[in-house]
Amino acid sequence: MYPADLLKSLELVHSTRQRRRAESLPRLEEQQRDHLLKTYHPDYKDAAFRNLRVGANKGDRVTHELADLLESFSDLDHARINLEPEFTTDVLVLGGGGAGVTAALFAESLGARVLLATKLRLGNSNTIMALGGMQASVAEEDSPLRHFADTMVAGGFAGKAPLVKALVEDGPHIVKWLLDIGVNFDRDALGNLATKKAGGLSAPRILSIGDHTGLNIMKVLKDEMRKSGRIEILEFSPAVELTTDAAGACNGAILYDLGRRRHLAVQARAVILATGGAGRLHNQGFPTSNNFGATGDAVVLAYRAGAGIEGMDSFQYHPTGVMFPDHMVGVLVTEAIRSLGAHLVNAEGRRFVNELETRDLVAAAIIREVEGGRGVRTPSGKVGVWLDIPVLEELLEKGMLKKRFPSLFKQFRRVRIDITRRPLLIYPTLHYQNGGILIDEQSESTVNNLFVAGEAAGGIHGRNRAMGNSLLDIFVFGRRAGLAAAERRGAVPGPVTLNHLTRYYDRLKSLRISSVAKSPTLFPEFIVDKL
């Protein structure tokens, strides 16, 4: 329940609702967009970035948080570790979210032996948390070409056309596959897949399953993995390093068994990195919507093994992360709410941006309001703006919120905030890494036999990911990675080595970098700061 101060500010939201409903805010002109981003979007805060001093992308601009990890040593005593493989397999999949499980399923479908190792429990991932939905061009007025154009525009034309082409062309086939294994996408009365329009889309293209899209897909994928019993699963075993052969090709990984507290080596003919994104690095001190294990491990591991990265200075700050109550800070309020017409309202009771602009613009506009002193302050000193959700009940129909957003309704019911009556206080939350490890259309990185899929991969979304394209990309490139990796079965993997580490560390030492940070991070250091 809201404390008195916030209730007072809320009165203003309630009292201005009718007036706001009559208002329609114009979309921003090209120039205004540019100005808004450059002045307020965190990606443009130069002080938050520096240029990398080592590795394949030496000279590239990345966030300090990431640079700290890339310019550091690992906990692993690489000279002493036992490299005798405890497991050998054809395909080693690292990460048990949507991309990893899809890759494992498709690799196995070609008869490859598959081992999947993941940090926490299988399925514990960002994929489970995806609420809004998945893009795929199935609607009459839509087409893969439109999907292509929308994606390129959203990403500021920084996405790689061949990857975007793969994404949009595989889309409808992926939907078919998901339906075949029993994923229950919402349908309309005629049995068509229901499609919704979202910010920045030129046609209705979002498929969903209530407001629990990722969860319901992930449940089915996990269930599907059990069917053959041939995919071996190691839970609570995060990868802490990749291994390479004499020629520098990837041939396995070192895992850390969290239970037994020891390292173990796995040898494989191909490795698929699907460890997701980096939200838990809390760039620039932002809250995050990401799960506990999203610490950007893939980029660290692949980079040390020599892989190129792409666009790691571009992140998505989802405009609507929760700011009150404290224990929910960073939790996402789905974009579907804005797509339907909810208003963003500042402390003066005014709307300040067309809510259907792309995420980067809306996020920048909210930051502008807060920096300009038009934000609303919580008792613990956090500042946000209001998201007027109750207006939807008036705009559309009474009772629709509970029906269409049951998970959101329940999340707030737990803290006694009734979203049908009360707006939510929100602020941008670190949501997605737009860049990642550079891949080709087969999902292979620039290191031989090292494949990457999902949020860890880069080059698809350019500098801004459109809503719903991530859920699609994890299946499209998860599948491609799985199939291509399984084809590497012929080759016998050479002995596993950590020679790439020796080389990388020599570089660090020659630059007199002696950082104390250890990477990968694996788990965020949590400071409970409410005392």
Binding site: L120, E140, F148, A149, I181, F185, N192, K410, V528
Partner: protein, 218 residues
């Protein structure tokens, strides 16, 4: 500061923390029961007794805020039996439900399973499933995040979450292919492989921009 009993130990913690934050605050190195930290994934189930209360309650550790005098523990993952099957090979999986989950018929509607942190009426959907109301069951289990709390309580060893998932998948599988998807797949198959797109993918940035704007304006 509040005094609570956490994992069997009396301890002082600051006000306003969730159970998970209280565990961190007191130096517990918890990883197993942590996932989304948003009340979405079901990894962090806890059991707690509030001061003066009679009944143990269940909830999510990342969303349950500690209160004075609360006695709380994190629950370990509960093992429950799941059937193994290949959905893609079955044309009518609903007919095979009883073969995979025979214990479903043993449900006596005792309602012991109604402790769902998602407020799902578990006993209700199990009953509906037993009576053959599959579509309605599938609808009602959509928010289940598989925490397994309900299964931990069932005297008949029914795992409602897995029965529900089986039914959810079966219903989806048995629906006809959506006409709009079928049409799109047909259209795509009819196009000559790689036509226009090959040229598009080779365009330079200015070319790409012009091309995309053209499509979006059409």
């Amino acid at each position: 500061m509040l005094t609570i009993e956490l994992e069997g130990r009396k301890i002082k913690v600051p006000e306003g923390l969730t159970v998970i934050e209280a565990l961190w605050d007191t130096g517990h190195d918890v990883k197993r029961g942590i996932g989304c930290l948003s009340g979405l994934c079901g990894a962090c189930t806890v059991a707690y007794l509030e001061a003066g209360a009679q009944r143990v309650r269940f909830g999510l550790g990342c969303q349950t805020v500690v209160a004075e005098g609360m006695n709380v523990i994190m629950l370990p993952y509960f093992p429950s039996r799941m059937a193994r099957y290949d959905m893609e090979r079955m044309t009518n999986p609903l007919q095979e439900l009883a073969g995979h989950y025979p214990e479903l018929t043993a449900c006596n509607d005792c309602k012991a399973c109604n402790i769902c942190p998602e407020w799902i009426d578990v006993a209700g959907f199990v009953k509906t499933a037993k009576e053959g109301g599959y579509e309605s069951t599938a609808d009602r289990v959509m928010d289940c995040h598989m925490c397994g709390l309900c299964a931990s309580r069932c005297p008949k060893s029914i795992a409602p979450q897995y029965v529900g998932l089986y039914i959810q998948r079966s219903c989806a599988r048995q629906r006809p292919l959506p006409p709009n998807l079928a049409k799109r797949l047909e259209q795509m198959a009819a196009l000559p492989a790689d036509r226009e797109f090959t040229q598009v993918a080779a365009l330079n940035r200015a070319g790409l921009e012009a091309y995309c704007r053209k499509i979006l304006d059409s």
